[in-house]
């Protein structure tokens, strides 16, 4: 049985994994320096590239004509709920530790990017093997 995997699909999964890698690098860099004061230039550049990759992924996804969108959104919305809880938990921990406003903002940005990127990856990973939605 032919699946959508055999079609040429954009590298959404690869870009999503690269985004996770960037978030992890930024997170490790910041965690290694906290709680002392440190320059935010590297984490901000890291976050900007990660956001750019997520936006690129959204554009690539929006250009797919025939796709199992229902499956994509079904998986995506539950993954989003789960990763909002996980990201919220981590923001809570950093806020409770009185992390300074600058690093806190960058960390929150990283966690928000993380919470959007993962559902997109999970949704795509499942939907690529599902039969495309019938044309409306």
């Amino acid at each position: 049985m032919s699946t959508t995997e055999e079609r040429t699909l954009p590298p959404v999964g690869e870009l999503a994994i690269a985004t996770i890698g960037l978030i992890v690098i930024g997170g490790v860099y910041m965690a290694a320096h906290l709680p002392k004061h440190f320059s935010l230039v590297i984490p901000i550049i890291d976050l900007a590239v990660a956001v750019a990759l997520v936006v690129t992924n959204v554009v690539l996804l929006s250009r797919i004509r025939s796709f199992a969108w229902r499956t994509f959104f079904l998986v995506g919305k539950w993954a989003l709920a789960a990763y909002m809880v996980i990201s919220g938990m981590l923001v809570y921990v950093f806020a409770r530790d009185h992390t300074p406003a600058g690093p806190m903002a960058v960390l929150a940005g990283m966690l928000a990017t993380f919470a959007v990127d993962i559902p997109m990856l999970f949704g795509f990973s499942v939907a690529r093997f599902a039969a495309p939605d019938p044309p409306t």
């Binding site: 049985m1 699946t3 995997e5 999964g13 999503a16 994994i17 996770i20 890698g21 992890v24 690098i25 997170g27 490790v28 965690a31 290694a32 320096h33 906290l34 709680p35 002392k36 499956t71 998986v75 539950w78 789960a82 809880v85 996980i86 938990m89 981590l90 809570y92 921990v93 409770r96 530790d97 993962i118 990856l121 999970f122 990973s125 499942v126 093997f129 599902a130």
Partner: protein
Amino acid sequence: MVDVAEVAPGVPPGMSGGPPPIPEFQIVPLRGLILVAVVIVALIVAIAGNWLWALDFFHVVGGGMWTGIDLFVGFIIGPIIGRMSIAARIEFSTRFMPKMLLLMPTLVTMTLAAGWQLARHLGHLNAGYNRHGWLVASYLVVGVMAVIAIGLLEPANLAVLFELKKPRPDPDLIGRLMKRFIYTAGITGAMQVATLVIMTRLAT
């Protein structure tokens, strides 16, 4: 590391021809969500209350189970699944994978959140701490494991579960995704050995 049997395309997935029976299962076990919620609430209470014992408990229990499960799945369960018939592998997957879907993210969240708070209370986060380098090494190991687990392992887990929900699952696809799941579990299992070294070094 692990031995996974190839699934020949076109070969009927059952041992005696025809598709194997697929047990009814829930992709996300709803009853398990109650347990997850209890753990998360207890974790929040422990963090809010600055309860050192509870933080230690969550970090040690969560970390121990996370490490143990990764090693066990990667090096014990993985090779066994690799030698199972397709029908047996499908039956095992329908019972095993939904539990992993809830268990592993919960263990990771409780280990990392409690561990971070514990390190803060004990003063280990300060760059002046004489073993701060070991702590940073643990961040790196966890970071690499996170990329592998979230980027490769979990999507494979989900894709297998959704494939098994189809009226006619593709055994070739399930075989390939299970192989990816088991290999990545093996890699994270091997990396957990590094975590064990770092954590025992920190605790000594």
